[in-house]
């Protein structure tokens, strides 16, 4: 019998929610902190990955859902690869963000949330990422019009950014987005 089949009966609702969202059981964590040690962004986080995992186990909803940690996560998968207990920490980071958005928590790093929204809106509309359109979309959300303006101009001059979106596959992505949304809504209510 593997350890993952051991059940721990009383667990926090947040841990339950994370499990439903990601299939990850944070109760397997034994706090070795390998995940935190290897995380390239932990220096900028308010709680290190191991601490966030622990807080989920404790059911510290407020702390977890308002933490900057998952929003700073670069999805580098170092934690996931190194965890001796096979907790997919990077997936837990995704799950926390998804739960926080669903609960209506204001994202603690708003520009990252804006970036996700701008990028997805762009993919849905264009089928493929149209960088220039996405950048404009992001700027309209963050009001930070000067960030990387010089870099963008230089990329444009080097022919690295397209003027016109391709729109190939736009109908397909639009349909997929709609069906996913419908499915997720249905799942929420059942």
């Amino acid at each position: 019998m593997t350890e993952s089949t051991l059940t721990i009966t009383s667990q926090s609702q947040l841990a339950d929610a994370v499990f439903r969202e990601s299939g990850q059981n944070v109760n397997l964590c034994y706090q070795c902190r390998k995940c935190a040690a290897g995380c390239p962004v932990s220096y900028a986080m308010d709680y290190r990955p191991a601490q966030l995992i622990h807080a989920i186990r404790l059911g510290a909803d407020d702390l977890v859902l308002n933490s900057k940690t998952p929003w700073l996560c670069a999805s580098c998968e170092t934690c996931t690869t190194r965890c001796p207990q096979e907790v997919d920490v990077a997936k837990v980071m995704d799950a926390v963000k998804i739960i926080a958005v669903r609960e209506g928590v204001k994202p603690p790093i708003p520009e990252v949330a804006s970036f996700y929204r701008a990028a997805l809106a762009n993919i849905k509309k264009c089928g493929r990422m149209y960088e220039l359109g996405m950048i404009v979309g992001l700027k309209l959300r963050t009001f930070d019009f000067f960030k990387d303006a010089g870099l963008g101009m230089k990329m444009f001059r080097k022919g690295k950014l397209k003027m016109i979106p391709s729109l190939t596959g736009a109908r397909t992505t639009w349909k997929i987005f709609r069906r996913v949304k419908r499915f997720e809504r249905k799942n929420q209510t059942t």
Binding site: A44, A74, T78, D94, I98, K154, L161, I176
Partner: protein, 294 residues
């Protein structure tokens, strides 16, 4: 030429990473490897999708695998490390969990392909033999460190690609076309790709660490296999230099550009002019070295 691989370029290779696209195709051409672009491919969803919806992040890549199957192909090659990771993750998760596979198929409104493989160009090029014989140009001045980044090898259970903490696939490939690659300890460290648009401060710190280590081991160029890494290391290098008051001047090549050079693809056919950090000086000294040697 027999078409053997369905080619999934992904969004970056059609825009910010177009050098990777042209150099990948040029190398395939030289080696007689047939590729055919997937018709009507769509974005794989990348980080914003998996940070927002698990189902969406699996359905988008799968649509492309369905399209490849429709073309009658089972082997898909995805040069962008981020796309490669998303495509392999989708297959892995669908195989592990029939329920999620059912949901993906519902989201796409069609059955999922039964057998389909996703490959990195590193894999398809190392499969072929006779690379040594195809070398047309020596590049003795180059001292390259191979930077694999995060997504080619991690998580190892999903990616099943090389040794996850210290991969050698790119080193071996470049060495087999006569290019010197050096040992270093930053092969799979993160450059902060996902934060490139938002938290530049993090990216500048992480890329500085990479440049420092590359310089310390005596490298004069970095080879990459990911367009997000390329954007961070190449287009932001000047910013890093200003921020930390240092001078690196390290050209960043896609490994396919280096292979192309070694295999005799004309320099102007590899998209090198699109780089921010110029490759001219390094390549000029390299061809001088060659003349002197010859």
């Amino acid at each position: 030429m027999n078409t053997r691989y369905a080619y999934y370029p992904g969004c970056s290779l059609h825009s910010t990473g177009s050098e990777y696209d042209v150099s990948f195709k040029a190398v395939c051409d030289k080696l007689g490897i047939g590729i055919q672009e997937i018709k009507g491919w769509i974005c794989c969803g990348t980080s914003p999708a998996h940070c927002t919806s698990r189902l969406l992040s699996l359905a988008l890549p799968y649509e492309n695998l369905c399209l490849a199957e429709k073309m009658g192909m089972t082997d898909v090659v995805a040069p962008c490390a981020a796309c490669f990771a998303r495509l392999r993750t989708a297959i892995h998760e669908a195989n592990e969990d029939p329920e999620i596979a059912g949901q993906i198929s519902e989201a796409l409104g069609k059955p999922l392909p039964k057998s389909v493989n996703v490959l990195s160009p590193l894999e398809i090029f190392s499969n072929g033999s006779g690379l040594e014989a195809a070398v047309a140009r020596q590049l003795p001045e180059l001292k390259v460190v191979c930077y694999y980044g995060c997504l080619l090898t991690r998580p190892s259970k999903v990616m099943q690609f090389d040794e996850c903490e210290y991969p050698m696939a790119m080193d071996e490939l470049l060495r087999s076309v006569g290019i010197t690659t050096l040992e270093w300890s930053y092969k799979t460290d993160c450059c902060g790709g996902a934060l490139a648009m938002t938290r530049t401060d993090v990216v500048l710190k992480l890329t500085r660490d990479i440049f420092e280590e590359a310089k310390t081991v005596g490298a004069n160029a970095i080879a990459v296999g990911c367009p997000l890494c390329h954007v961070n290391l190449d287009t932001r290098q000047e910013e890093v230099e200003q921020e930390y008051d240092v001078q690196y001047g390290l050209p960043i090549f896609y490994f396919t550009q280096l292979m192309g050079l070694a295999l005799g693809v004309p320099t102007d056919k590899l998209g090198l002019h699109k780089h921010f950090v110029s490759t001219d000086e390094l390549l000029r000294s390299s061809s001088k070295g060659q003349l002197a040697a010859g």
